[in-house]
Amino acid sequence: MAGEAEAGGINAHPMDQFVVKPLFEDALGPLTVTNSTLWMAIGVAIAVGLFVLPMRGAQLVPTRMQSVAELLYGFIRKMTTDVLGEEGLKFFPYIFTLFVFILISNIAGLIPASFTVTSHIAVTGVMALMVFFTVTLIGFMRHGAHFVSLFWVDSAPAALRPILFLIELISYFVRPLSHSVRLAGNMMAGHAVLKVFAAFVPAMGVAGLIPIAAMTGIFALELLVAVVQAYIFTILTCVYLNDALHMH
């Protein structure tokens, strides 16, 4: 932004932080290494550092990092058994991986000048579609064609059932969309708000302390949102899996 250094005026580019840029090349191809790739790799590295390394010399009385890892593990494991029951533990590695990746990406995105991977619907959409296909496949594998009866409302009058079937079918397809939009939208909205407030600071001079104070509050809220959204994405995955495993 060399040419845009106007002194004073409000100079907000709240969406600039979400631009995907190639790191080493000029053009954007299908396999280009971008800042998004970089931050995904950093997220994976943090996950390894948080879970693999401390657990290597695991002790009965945990060290500090080990107890962080065990706390997260126990939390998600309990959630999985609460929603899916004991047999749901087969899916625990998948669910835990999703949780850890989203949680770390969300929180790493709060580091100034970093890139929030989960603010892109391309990323969250892939994860939501993965969940969607997993759930659908498992449903058909477990119940065969009987899985379709998930959409067939027996309690309704016979004349209404075909229409209700369509409605239920659509609401099944709504899941991956709302699943991914919720996470990406939450991440993007908060970060854009932070940037807008930041633009007020140079424009207001000494009174710029007011937006700084507001930003501090919003940042705390964003930290909460980052954790809560990771949790919600994971628990929704469990709930959807539960529909496929135990049909009513």
Partner: protein, 128 residues
């Protein structure tokens, strides 16, 4: 000769002190502050589900129309169906919320009746 302050506390004293601490711990996690945020989350979820329903209906209708060449017909029908789907999801999540609140009230009543449970009640699932 030991004074009052030096005398080791009796078991009953320790017991009552422990019970007081447990009670204080238990009362806290189920604060109303979290419930307020949860309400906002619920509203946010309902709005997304509603719009997503319409969007999915629109897409399906559009796809069918361009397949059969009957441009506005299926789009109109499926937008309405998508809206209905969004409303049904919304109603279902409202129903879930109501049932959860009921269950929580029951659990609280049970906890008030039966004392001496170690640890606070685990927070139930907030998603969905």
């Amino acid at each position: 000769m030991p004074t009052d302050a030096e005398r080791p506390p009796s078991l009953e004293e320790i017991d009552s002190r422990l019970a007081a601490i447990r009670k204080r711990r238990k009362a806290k996690p189920a604060g109303r502050g979290a419930a307020k945020w949860q309400g906002a989350e619920l509203a946010w979820r309902m709005v997304i589900d509603l719009t997503a329903g319409i969007a999915v209906g629109l897409t399906i209708g559009w796809g069918l129309d361009s397949l059969f060449g009957t441009m506005p017909l299926f789009m109109v029908v499926f937008v309405l169906l998508g809206f209905a789907a969004g409303v049904s999801i919304m109603l279902r999540s409202a129903e879930d919320q109501r049932r959860k609140a009921l269950r929580r009230a029951e659990a609280e009543a049970a906890a008030a009746g039966g004392t001496d449970e170690t640890g606070a009640a685990a927070p139930r699932d907030e998603g969905r």
